[in-house]
């Protein structure tokens, strides 16, 4: 695809999906500026993918995946920047890290969910929460629709067990 067509296609995709994508990025980051950055970056990459001749089956799925990866990479890098070596960490800090973090901190929340869900299960849950059907998730993750069902079932089971443990008195 030439640059002119890629640009037009990107603008069209922006007009169609930008609102939903921004809401998604905001849910991940809880930060307006970071969500806007993620949105812009995702569409710039979309343009580059098109101009380099990449065939994109579902623009919506592609954009969500790239936005998700961008936010996760950003948060991981941010976490690494603020990481304290284990020997320097006090007892209080370690106790905080073992407990469930506050829901308002997206980085902690993502980290905590990744602790008990496998990466594939987590991706499926995220995409499902965004309204993707099994076929779209399967296309997105390059797996079969049946596998999507299994992964979601397993994720739901893990979540149920986790919640039951939390409800049980100590």
């Amino acid at each position: 695809m030439d640059a002119q067509s890629a640009r037009e296609e990107t603008i069209r995709a922006y007009q169609l999906h930008a609102g939903v994508l921004l809401a998604y990025a905001h849910r991940l980051t809880r930060d307006d500026a970071l969500a806007q950055d993620a949105l812009q970056e995702t569409y710039l990459r979309f343009f580059l993918a098109l101009v380099q001749g990449e065939h994109i089956e579902s623009a919506r799925a592609w954009l969500h995946r790239v936005a998700h990866n961008y936010v996760c990479d950003f948060l991981k890098t941010a976490a690494m920047r603020t990481a304290v070596p284990l020997e320097d960490a006090g007892e209080d800090r370690l106790r905080d890290e073992r407990g469930m973090p506050g829901a308002d901190r997206a980085a902690d929340w993502i980290e905590a969910a990744q602790r008990f869900l496998a990466p594939r299960e987590w991706q499926c849950v995220q995409l499902r929460a965004e309204g993707f059907d099994y076929t779209e998730i399967a296309t997105e993750l390059a797996i079969r629709p049946g596998t999507v069902g299994s992964l979601l079932h397993r994720a739901a089971k893990k979540l149920r067990i986790r919640m039951r443990k939390k409800e049980r008195p100590a």
Binding site: A3, Q4, A18, L22, L48, Q52, G53
Partner: protein
Amino acid sequence: MKLLGRWHPRSWRRKPAAAPGSDVYFEAAASSGLDDLQARLNHWSDLWTKGSDSAMRSEAQRLVAERLANWMERCFGQHALSSLRGKGSPISLASSTPIFTAFLGRRATRELSRRVLQDL
């Protein structure tokens, strides 16, 4: 009870205000970023297409060519770079993409292009 007496056209047509976190709010916030994106894409399109054949090369185009040459040397070595340059035209994003894609793959090439176009 007169339900119709409570009905008023103004209240019927009134739409809820866009609250932060609602779909309307995000749609409005996203549309405000469209101009920035359009401006950036116009600039990138120019850099992509006019990199090699334009007589008047801008500072940005010179920067792109320089960065591409660095990446090409890093990935394929000095010999590949000199042989490609020997064909006459300077390196551009459009002309270098096929060779990068062939040897590095699509994703790596996209990332490379993103880094070449960083801050432009």
